[in-house]
Symmetry: C2
Subunit: 254 residues, 2 copies
DNA sequence: CGTTAGATTGAGCGCTATCAATTTTTGTGG
DNA sequence: CCACAAAAATTGATAGCGCTCAATCTAACG
């Protein structure tokens, strides 16, 4: 919890990109220079950018959780992506003229508003970073595919279990969940909008998982009590997160 | 139907990319040169590439329909993407070492197996094509987000309606559905795996849409009888397909 | 210590799943 | 061109997972 407040960009982003390519000291210096961009802050529940806006900057999350979401005319909302520190909210989206979705803050979010040219120069000057960024985008796409699998084929318990295990891995990979317990600021309504269920059923399912000793969720914090059992229940397959670095092997917890 | 057989790469891909950037005659020549790559053919139901494989080539569909799908250990299958002629099945995926999903042929598929260097050179030599390709990828990601919205928040009728309208637009954009009727080779089981429903319920829902005069589906062909009503039912918002070209405006059929 | 957002509980319903059979279409060989 | 086999579509009956509505309880906050 307090660790999340000390998380800075070079930690989260650098650590994450290190997963994809070994970066030189010069690469890391270039990444740290991103911190020269203006740092903005949005309150929980506020939007970083709304559907229809013309995206003008690239947002690099520095602290806090955010989500990508879409609305239906009938008011229903679906969260289609989650961002933790070190994630780019819209690395490429600025290329499309109109955003087809919104990005909202879940907890208080601080992010760097990077002018597109800054990214373009970074990619041009430091090709290895460019490759890592592409890699990172491909992993995001992979996560989206797994979410489709979840919404289409997993039941309530499996949906929540899979989300919990995924976020555990993602948060741990930036160094914020070493002990299996971490900040998890989604409300049960947010969870419902993520898993395509109702808040009521989300609540009941969480209670089940809790009573079975799989998780421990309270006050915006999630504890993974039994990772193996939870992963089994979720039919979690670590492959889609592509956590292994190029050239290395990782025995999937699956 | 017979028109689909005469569809060649420069038509489908060129036409599609034209939506994103005005291409020069030289650009089009470069695109046509992609046809020098080996043309492969796979039978319906066969895989172009399976989960776990190391993708070595980029597949550019020339004719036929294919799908991207994932499996759960319990046997359930989710189709997470559809490909029509002119679509790249895996423009960038070859960068990740292991494919986290499979790509299967729905109808007989012919595709160009492009060595990665061919794409890299194309992007390098013809930056405008490179931009159009990036654009194309972003649209694919946008479609995935809409599918998440569908699976999370739309009911059975809305799911099918949205898929039908989307595919109508996509097929029409490559010139294969001018009259509102087009080849649609998904079986009802495929549709079920796409919409996250059972084949039985898919069947019953299709019958409803048929009886209400919205669609006409028979023998691997889909007719859109009432686009306006179908779009309304689906709460279809054309924006996510980004069909409008840079600098132009399109009054969304929505 | 109100005020309010979020979490929890209860009851009843309905959309979609499941199981199982039958009919129709498609494809193939005689 | 017909007969047969296999795939796909269709129908019927029943069950259940998750939704809806509505109330209550709890925690966060000024």
């Amino acid at each position: 919890m307090e660790t999340s407040m000390t998380m800075t960009i070079d930690h989260a982003l650098g650590r994450k990109l290190e997963r994809f390519a070994r970066l030189s000291e010069e690469d890391h210096r270039a990444l740290r220079r991103l911190r020269e961009a203006p740092l903005r802050e949005v309150e929980p529940r506020a939007d970083l950018i709304a559907e229809g806006d013309e995206p003008a900057v690239v947002r690099l999350s520095e602290s806090g959780w955010a989500c990508r979401y879409k609305h239906l005319p009938n008011g229903r909302r679906q969260i289609v992506g989650l961002f933790v520190p070190g994630d780019f909210c819209d690395l490429n989206v600025y290329i499309l003229r109109h955003l087809d979705h919104s990005i909202g803050a879940i907890s208080k979010v601080r992010y760097y508003a990077l002018p597109p040219h800054m990214i373009e120069e970074l990619v041009h000057d430091r090709p290895r970073i460019g490759k890592a960024l592409l890699w990172n985008e491909l992993v995001q796409a992979s996560i989206q595919r797994e979410w489709l699998l979840t919404l289409g084929q997993r039941n309530a318990r499996e949906r929540l279990a899979n989300l919990f295990v995924e976020m555990f891995h993602r948060v741990r990979s930036i160094g914020l969940a070493g002990d299996g317990k971490f900040e998890f600021p989604l409300t049960q309504t947010d969870l419902a909008d993520t898993t395509g269920m109702t808040p009521v059923h989300t609540n009941r399912t969480i209670q089940e998982l809790r009573q079975e000793g799989l998780i421990d969720m309270d006050r915006r914090h999630l504890g993974i009590c039994d990772l193996a059992a939870l992963s089994r229940l979720a039919m979690f397959n670590a492959g889609y997160l592509h956590l292994d670095r190029e050239g290395e092997t990782l025995d999937a917890a699956n």
